[in-house]
Symmetry: C2
Subunit: 192 residues, 2 copies
């Protein structure tokens, strides 16, 4: 009934997510966002709200895309160790890409904003919880089938694997040696 929108919401949110991912919240200006989306400042603001709300939308977009991919990798059929391995290989692929990657948007957000913005903290927690749940389900399945050690319960084991996974993402920034990173993965998996 009013003028139709000229932009595609998904495409815009993806562009916004990518820019926040690459630059972080503070170093990204609303004019940067307008430019990367090809929209005017007020159009962006009218459609999505202020800068912070755009950021929250970007985090939710990440949840729909990257978080979903991560949980899917864990939910595939097949040996659990292969699934966990796939999760980690995917992270290594991203982190060693050229041009240099910006790691994981959620980790970045947890560092930059989660301490001061409760709603960002909530989006961060949602992502982590989702991945953790998928991983725990997979590991529990592996324990039931005997593929994976029953030394500890699935919850503790999940934390253990998560710590390796997140550490891998940090390590990839300073040790961009694929063989070394893959070795970390394989060592960890061999001990499950």
């Amino acid at each position: 009934m009013g003028r139709p929108r000229k932009f595609d919401e998904t495409r815009v949110l993806t562009a916004v997510m990518n820019m926040f991912w690459q630059r972080g919240y503070e170093a990204t200006s609303t004019r940067d966002l307008a430019e990367t989306t090809g929209m005017g400042l007020s159009s962006l603001s009218n459609a999505f709200g202020d800068k912070r709300q755009l950021y929250l939308r970007a985090l939710r977009r990440y949840y729909e895309t990257n978080t979903a991919v991560q949980t899917e990798l864990l939910e595939q059929p097949g040996p659990v160790k292969d699934r966990v391995r796939n999760l980690m290989v995917q992270a290594i692929d991203i982190d060693l890409a050229n041009p240099p990657s910006s790691g994981c948007l959620i980790i970045n957000a947890s560092i930059e904003m989660a301490n001061t913005d409760p709603e960002v903290a909530q989006e961060v927690r949602r992502h982590f919880t989702t991945v953790e749940r998928a991983l725990r389900a997979a590991l529990a399945e592996g324990q039931r089938s005997g593929e994976i050690t029953r030394d500890q319960d699935a919850v503790a084991l999940t934390h253990h694997v998560l710590s390796s996974y997140y550490g891998l993402r940090v390590l990839a920034r300073v040790q961009p040696d694929r063989a070394a990173l893959m070795n970390v993965v394989d060592t960890m998996l061999a001990k499950l």
Copy 2:
């Protein structure tokens, strides 16, 4: 020969480091820094250079203080596993402190700036390299004494432990449960 300085360099750099650590580079203004140090804008600038140079000085201050503590923990006499454990317990203590901690300045810097600023990247690398070296020396010692498995060489083992260590720092942000984190540490150590 000119007017004497009124500030204590170490105290100022520590205050600057703490503020950058808490807020990140972009979200910290030069006026914030002036206020936290009790110095005027031009005094700060005349003494230390522009904002970016202050940041580099903060990273170096971190190296002299926190990085040094980390390597000392690894270089202490006594069982190697205890030393590694001490390193991780220290991290957990920091990360679970109240008010909420800002994690590790170097990890934060690697995410916020190391992709775009070569000199920051260099300071980041220096920190990581120093900790890695100390850890490798400790692990190699543990292998020689038979305390630690010889399944893999010390370099690969170092990467493995580092990935757990850095992951622990990320995990602590979203899973602030001391027992769970300690369990990750003890599980990892038990498998060395």
